[in-house]
């Protein structure tokens, strides 16, 4: 009865109301920021006295925003590729390896996800100051790779666990080499896992703030760093305009992902 929505009686309405309120709560800031980006008040007075496209104009007129977005995309792409590659190898070791201590190794691989990013950021900042990696592209990639890797390991090893390795064996019995079997049989079978790992890794890097604040230099800033410094120094509605574009991008990515999933299930 409690698991049949229509037999819940009064409770059905209570649950529905809670869901509606929660949806409102989740949507409010997103809709608000879209509205704010079109308001003409420099000092974030809401509702604004009028509407304008000025902030979008300012956003595109300032090359620093575009170059920050470009930097973010470049870093996120490299992080995505490396994270999936390393994650795949590590996951193969975790699910197919027969060595001892795999549970410990797995737990270890996931620690960067559990540990507060702030600790990793401060520690890497100190190390990179000595290595001269602060404010470099490589430094950014390494920092983001550390926090993206656990998500790759989780999603890829999850996919590997549901895939029966005896299929790989069958391929080998039919004359394929072990690596050939992995590439031509296993990889396609876990492609959805690789795909999610790639998306996760990209988004983690693309969205990451705390590490980026410490890694950034005047010549190399990611989009979140640009938003962060603007937030702290300027508070201009240009941030709302940039955020609106980011929300739009997220929505588009979600729709694309949903369409891909739909296409697959057919």
């Amino acid at each position: 009865m409690l698991l049949d929505f229509d037999k819940l009686g009064l409770w059905k309405w209570i649950l529905s109301a809670i869901c509606a309120l929660m949806a409102l709560f989740l949507l409010l800031p997103i809709l608000f920021i879209v509205a704010l980006s079109f308001g003409n008040s420099r000092w974030l007075i809401f509702p604004p006295p009028g509407w304008t496209l000025k902030w979008y104009h300012d956003l595109f007129a300032d090359p620093r925003w575009l170059s920050a977005a470009f930097t973010s995309a470049k870093i996120a792409l490299v992080v995505m590729v490396l994270s999936v590659a390393l994650g795949l190898l590590a996951s193969l070791a975790l699910t197919r390896g027969t060595f001892r201590g795999r549970a410990v190794l797995r737990a270890f691989f996931l620690t960067p996800m559990v540990l507060p990013v702030v600790i990793i950021a401060v520690a890497l900042y100190a190390a990179f100051l000595r290595l001269g990696l602060n404010g470099t592209f490589v430094g950014f990639v390494i920092a983001h790779l550390i926090v993206a890797l656990p998500f790759s390991v989780i999603t890829i090893s999850g996919a590997l666990e549901t895939f029966d390795p005896s299929i790989e064996d069958a391929a080998i019995l039919c004359g394929a080499s072990p690596w050939e079997a992995r590439f031509r049989v296993t990889l396609p079978a876990i492609s959805h896992g690789l795909f999610s790992a790639a998306i996760f890794s990209f988004l983690i890097s693309w969205d990451e703030v705390v590490l980026a604040i410490f890694m950034a230099s005047p010549t190399l800033q990611t989009l979140p760093v640009k938003v962060w410094t603007t937030l702290r120094q300027d508070l201009t509605p240009v941030i709302a305009a940039a955020s609106t574009l980011l929300v739009g991008l997220t929505a588009i990515l979600m729709i694309v992902a949903a369409l891909i999933r739909k296409g697959k299930s057919r």
Partner: protein, 336 residues
């Protein structure tokens, strides 16, 4: 492995591909002030020398110290507070300035040291939203601290720096010429009385936003930020009574990668014309003695250098000497 190698190769080419044109980095506090510095200092400088000036910020003393210690400096010229510059010069964090390049004969001698020259000088003034105080309007430091007469949140500068401590002492009845050495116990006791009503502002833009949105109807501001708000059409009340001046400094962190460009930039930024243009735009006073004659008389009236009646100059030397000690107490008190 193929993918990885490709990605690594990509990473290396991208990292090496940073533009090679001559450039330097100028770091300041963001907002309308840095916009003006970009427009009136950096742009003419770039035009004359062909050196591209990258803007960074906000100024962060911890970062400077860390960069100098690690010998990994990537800021060439930094706009800092003057008392910090004096202290940092002594502590070996700064390059000595090259006065063969920078002409110090035209600079206000109050703002010249071996390691720093003035960037501009400003006043901390009382600012308020007239709509919130239709009857009596706040005028004195005592008013700023009187939550019964002028209710509402008040906003103060968050970081340990000349200004707020002096204001608290003045509000408590200390005579303007008896401020130094600062009686910290007395100042914190006075600040305690309004602590729950304080919203701290971290940067100039935030202070403007707090006042404009009504979040804090009254506070203690950099005069230039209030001038910018007024220019934007916002209703702003200003009281210059006992305005407290402090200066910003231009410094070059030790080991800055483009030292020569940095000196040339400072020379340009402190020239009479650059200082005059900057002052007219921001409402901060110029430190070049040749600037006032280049400026419109009407504009000059809104600058701190014409509000000298009850003006108090914060004691930069005192602050430079006691900065750490006051800072430690300040942040501990804030966190309490």
């Amino acid at each position: 492995m193929h993918k990885k190698a490709l990605a690594l190769a990509a990473a290396l080419t991208l990292a090496g591909g940073v533009a090679q044109a001559q450039q330097m980095v100028f770091t300041s506090w963001g907002g309308t002030t840095q916009d003006a510095q970009t427009e009136f200092w950096a742009a003419p400088y770039s035009e004359k020398t062909g050196t591209n000036v990258l803007q960074d910020g906000p100024t962060d003393y911890g970062k400077i110290k860390a960069m100098v210690e690690a010998k990994a400096v990537n800021w060439d010229v930094v706009d800092s507070e003057f008392d910090w510059a004096l202290q940092a010069g002594k502590a070996g964090l700064l390059e000595p300035l090259d006065f063969n390049v920078i002409d110090k004969s035209k600079l206000d001698p109050r703002f010249v040291s071996d390691y720093a020259v003035g960037s501009f000088y400003y006043s901390f003034v009382i600012g308020f939203n007239p709509a919130n105080f239709s009857g009596d309007q706040p005028k004195t430091m005592a008013d700023l601290f009187d939550t019964a007469k002028f209710p509402g949140k008040r906003t103060f500068y968050k970081w340990s720096a000349p200004g707020v401590i002096e204001a608290a002492l003045l509000a408590d009845g200390v005579a303007a010429d008896k401020l130094y050495p600062l009686d910290l116990d007395r100042a914190f006791k006075k600040l305690d009385t309004i602590k729950s009503d304080i919203i701290w502002w971290e940067g100039g833009a935030q202070s403007q936003q707090l006042l404009a949105s009504g979040e804090a109807p009254i506070g203690f501001f950099w005069n230039g930020r209030l001038a910018a708000l007024a220019a934007d059409g916002m209703p702003v009340g200003i009281s210059w009574e006992n305005n407290i001046t402090a200066a910003d400094a231009l410094v070059v962190p030790k080991g800055a990668p483009n030292k020569d460009a940095a000196m040339a930039f400072i020379a340009e930024a402190t020239s009479a014309k650059a200082q005059a243009d900057f002052a007219a735009k921001t409402g901060y006073a110029p430190i070049n003695t040749g600037s006032p004659e280049l400026m419109d008389a009407e504009v000059r009236k809104t600058l701190p250098d014409t509000q000298t009646g009850t003006q108090i100059n914060a004691d930069m030397a005192y602050w430079a000497e006691h900065r750490d000690e006051i800072g430690t107490r300040w942040y501990a008190w804030q966190a309490q």
